[in-house]
Symmetry: C2
Subunit: 181 residues, 2 copies
């Protein structure tokens, strides 16, 4: 869609604007006007580069999801501590994107079920990742026990995320610290 330098640069600016808008106004407040104003671009230009608003948002969310990952490439190397730490760091650095992630998980879509499927798959991988890390760290042979604990750990982390949105004074890092005992 973009062939010349100008087009690629505009695409980059639009994605940055979308990311900022999502963080600042949430998914509902991220309208085409907000994105375009922020990117210094007219709607026609946006639609020359993206087939729909959803597609731009999806791209940003995908990037945000990947940002939670402590070891994007490797598998079977991270520890439970690292995974918890990665989540807490993500919450601290990108609270609004974390909120967007949970919002989309709850609304089940931005529009079509496509996004939901992506989030589901991401969650499955995350549970597996936590399960592996826990099993490895504690030398568990019973994988189902490790999986059970992984689900609970992830649930508590997600729940703490929800709690901080309602009460920003909550110190997630401190609360999460005692979680692995």
């Amino acid at each position: 869609m973009a062939r010349y330098k100008a087009g690629l640069e505009t695409r980059r600016r639009i994605l940055a604007a979308t990311r900022d808008a999502l963080a600042e106004h949430g998914p509902d407040g991220t309208t085409l006007k907000v994105i375009c104003d922020r990117a210094g671009v007219q709607p026609g230009s946006f639609y020359n580069l993206f087939p729909s608003k959803e597609e731009a948002i999806l791209t940003v969310v995908r990037e945000a999801i990947e940002a939670v990952d402590p070891h994007p490439d490797g598998v079977g190397v991270d520890t439970p501590d690292e995974l918890v730490e990665a989540y807490v760091t993500f919450l601290e650095h990108q609270p609004l994107l974390a909120r967007v992630y949970l919002q989309i998980a709850l609304t089940g879509a931005v529009a079509d079920g496509h996004v939901l499927g992506r989030i589901r798959r991401h969650r499955e991988r995350r549970v597996e990742r936590f399960t592996d890390a826990i099993a490895r760290a504690e030398g568990l042979t019973d994988r189902s026990e490790a999986e059970r604990r992984a689900v609970m750990l992830l649930a508590t982390l997600d729940g703490l995320a929800v709690a901080t949105f309602l009460d920003p004074s909550l110190d997630v890092r401190k609360r999460a610290a005692g979680l692995l005992d």
Copy 2:
């Protein structure tokens, strides 16, 4: 706002229609038109009884939550088990309403800060309720320790709720069972 029988009946129909619409179409699909069509009512009639669409939705959610409250009147009588049980029952019986509640908590105000304030207050009361129950059950004199555990318990429950939306096969009741040890 409603004084005569007719008004009360209409109010009841509107709330039922809102509840059905939320369950069937989700919060985004619950437009004024959908509600009014379903209730067999015109917009003007709706606004004679409710100050806003938001208010009708909140009323429905609040009623659903209260419906599973183990001790709606009394204070300081419920046990942690009862409170967890109430949450799980709510999740099982009204999964879509539970989702709406979390969605509203995450989107925050959406429009006015009024709604956010209401949700914050509800959450504070819930934390207090859990704190009291835990302190009572375990004979804790250190209230801050009970509060810490209450926050974590609630977080895990909220997180399990999020998890079931992504993976409906998750047995929340079973997972929540071991939560109080």
